[in-house]
């Protein structure tokens, strides 16, 4: 049972950033803009968030500091994603190229800025955010052990943001318009929806969630920020595609990846996995093999937004 709790707790550290960033990607793509700049956005968000924690660590600590840092990371993500929005919506540039440019720019800028400010490229931070056990909730049997022990506020913020995001895209007027712009912008335009504005909104939301995702990725897993999020932005894109651009499926996909990755890293603590006695490398392959198998069964009907990646041209209506 102990092992089970451990796996659930660790899974959160993988799944929550993936979930947030994938949902961010979903917003951009369903509004019609491909956003492969998620990796870069994560790096930027993590940078300013961690820098803030590092600078303010002397005078503040605990959850208040973390919440401020999350906001700062999100705002940074927004600002950074605006570059992508401008290039792909106003300038009608190739969105893959614009996204790649941002991905290349982000780590370089972060290293440069960190050296200017700190002298070195790593930004250390003191972790005052871990919650050994959430008051009251942590003492619930089973559920308390699973979800309310050895955790970070970021987990709950992530889930809250997910719920809001999932609700907005499927149940509100704005969500409907956003989806329309990704499927058939001409039709949306014909009934008076401003496609450019909606797409800007989509990219801005993806920037916010991407930036927060970057911070959420770094805080539980390292003691400093070293200008990288280890390819998790791209993994989040994979999660989004795996989840067929639908919030419910993305939730499933993020946790599927999370559980598989946890199993692959912590197999020695999981009795039935350890009992298999396979070489280390085979365990590391588990997430990818499992993904392939699932894709074999599910890839028949891809539900990509029809108009994604195509700049909206009013004249072509």
């Amino acid at each position: 049972m102990d092992v089970f709790y451990f796996v659930v707790q660790q899974t959160m550290f993988f799944a929550i950033p993936l979930l947030l960033v994938a949902i961010g990607g979903m917003y951009a793509e369903r509004s019609g803009v491909i956003n492969i700049a998620l990796e870069g956005i994560m790096v930027m968000g993590a940078f300013t968030g961690i820098l803030f924690i590092s600078e303010m660590g002397d005078s503040m600590s605990g959850q208040g500091l973390l919440i401020l840092a999350i906001l700062i990371a999100g705002v940074t993500g927004i600002v950074f994603s605006l570059l992508h929005a401008f290039a792909s919506i106003n300038m009608k540039a190739d969105q893959t190229i614009s996204g790649t440019a941002l991905n290349l720019f982000a780590p370089a800028f972060v290293i440069f800025a960190a050296r200017m400010i700190n002298g070195v490229q790593q930004i250390p931070f003191e972790d005052t955010f871990r919650i050994p056990s959430v008051p009251v909730l942590g003492s619930i049997p089973v559920l308390g052990d699973m979800f309310f022990k050895n955790t970070y506020l970021t987990t709950y913020v992530g889930i809250l943001l997910y719920i809001i995001a999932a609700f907005v895209i499927s149940k509100t007027k704005f969500g409907l318009r956003l989806r329309a712009c990704g499927e058939h912008p001409g039709a949306a335009d014909s009934v008076g929806v401003n496609v450019g504005k909606i797409r800007y909104a989509g990219v801005i939301i993806s920037g916010f969630l991407g930036g927060v995702g970057g911070l959420v990725f770094v805080v539980p897993t390292s003691t400093n920020f070293n200008a990288t999020v280890a390819g998790y932005g791209f993994l989040a894109l994979a999660v989004m595609i795996f989840g067929q651009w639908r919030s419910g499926k993305i939730l499933g996909a993020a946790f599927f990846f999370g559980v598989m990755k946890t199993m692959a890293s912590a197999y020695t603590s999981v009795p039935f996995l350890k009992g298999l006695g396979l070489p280390n490398d085979v365990y590391k392959m588990i997430p990818y093999i499992a993904t392939l198998i699932v894709l074999v069964f599910t890839s028949k009907s891809s539900q990509a937004p029809r108009a994604e990646g195509i700049p909206y041209d009013k004249g072509a209506r």
């Binding site: 660790q10 550290f13 250390p124 990725f217 539980p220 390292s222 003691t223 890293s265 020695t268």
Partner: protein
């Protein structure tokens, strides 16, 4: 009209931004120049390996040695970063350094073996210092060929690892772990020494057979990731009290796991005590001093090129930083005693030449007290 104005505005901001950046850069260069020398040739150069001059590890240690000498003697110095990890890119970076006026090029890392092999013949007037490697042609079994203008420096990492393992067991730890970055020679030597040190200390303490357990793995990377954090957490959960993380930046993920589990970490290469309160000590190699010494010998005309040297305890090439260590029972006297033994070469420690993988250690060192689990 509005759009045009906006475009203009944006263009102007960008140009201004660029100018500002450029301006900054120029200022920095100027600062560097005045700090070093008036000449526009950079006589001392370092080409970085994968990593940067502030990686808190390998490249940084070497660069500090360069800077120390250069500042003392007022010599212009510069570092170059290859554009990618390939022999070609490394050679280009070295060529660029030479073109920039370098008379001495420091190359930290075994990835420089092939590039330096070619460049040492191409630039016979330039001195090369290669760390953790010996120049040879491409191919697995190519013979080592060190020209007179090249000095190859190795460290006895196995001794640094030995000190760490010895101190840990002497201090009372019984459940140990070793997480190496990638199974390259230097990392292997750290790991093997760690196991041997634990065994010897257990023998001295008269512990029972198999009382010390060591889990041993390579995490296949040097970057902090949730995977490594989870793996370390699972080890700590299974009872590991201390993990020796010889994995560069990935060590930070191990430290994070240790903070959660309230357990300990031993750092690597440089003193990592400042990284986390869980770092109880660090298995260090004295990069700064050795690079400094090598450069000094070049300028003093006593350069001992054409050979490969191994810096061990007898040359103070490895150490544990006892001032910043947090051992409870392992004292300075203990340390001095074991260090003296190492310096006199009284202890035989397995290296990467002894056994290809860690499973061979049990046989190679006749382990009895230590039960090693390779994962």
């Amino acid at each position: 009209m509005k759009k045009k104005l906006l475009t203009m505005l944006l263009a102007t901001t960008m140009v201004c931004g660029l100018v500002a950046c450029g301006g900054n850069k120029a200022n920095n260069d100027k600062k560097d120049d005045t700090k070093s020398a008036k000449s526009d040739k950079y006589e001392l150069a370092l080409v970085t390996d994968m990593g940067s001059i502030d990686d808190k590890s390998f490249n940084q240690g070497a660069w500090e040695g360069v800077v120390q000498y250069a500042e003392e003697k007022n010599i212009a110095h510069q570092y170059y970063k290859p554009v990618e990890q390939s022999d070609e890119a490394y050679k280009d970076a070295i060529a660029l350094a030479v073109k920039g006026g370098a008379k001495t090029v420091v190359c930290p890392g075994f990835l420089f073996e092939v590039p330096v092999f070619e460049m040492q013949s191409q630039y016979p007037d330039v001195n090369f210092i290669i760390i953790d490697g010996a120049p040879h042609d491409a191919g697995d079994n190519a013979p080592i060929d060190i020209k007179d203008n090249t000095l190859s420096i190795f460290y006895a990492e196995q001794q640094a690892g030995y000190l760490a393992g010895y101190a840990a067991v002497k201090d009372g730890y019984k459940n140990l772990g070793f997480m190496g970055g990638v199974a390259v020679p230097a990392v292997k030597r750290y790991g093997y020494g760690f196991v041997k040190g634990a065994e010897d200390a257990a023998n001295e303490l008269g512990l029972k057979d198999g009382e010390i357990s060591v889990r041993y793995t390579y995490v296949n990377g040097f970057a902090a990731t949730p995977e490594i954090n989870t793996q370390a957490s699972s080890w700590y959960k299974d009872g590991a009290e201390l993990i020796f993380a010889a994995a560069g930046g990935a060590g930070n993920s191990v430290m994070k796991a240790a903070e959660t589990a309230k357990a300990q970490v031993i750092g690597v290469d440089v003193d990592q005590a400042a990284e986390s309160t869980t770092v109880i000590s660090s298995a260090m190699k004295n990069l700064k001093k050795s690079v400094y010494d090598a450069i000094t010998s070049i300028y003093d005309g006593k350069f001992e090129g054409g050979q490969s040297i191994t810096l061990d305890a007898s040359k103070e090439g490895v150490e544990l930083p006892m001032e910043s260590s947090k051992w409870a029972n392992f004292t300075q006297e203990d340390y001095d005693a074991i260090y003296a033994k190492l310096a006199n070469n009284e202890i035989d420690i397995p290296t990467d030449a002894t056994t290809e993988d860690a499973k061979g250690l049990t046989k190679a060192c006749k382990l009895t007290k230590v039960k090693i689990t390779v994962e």
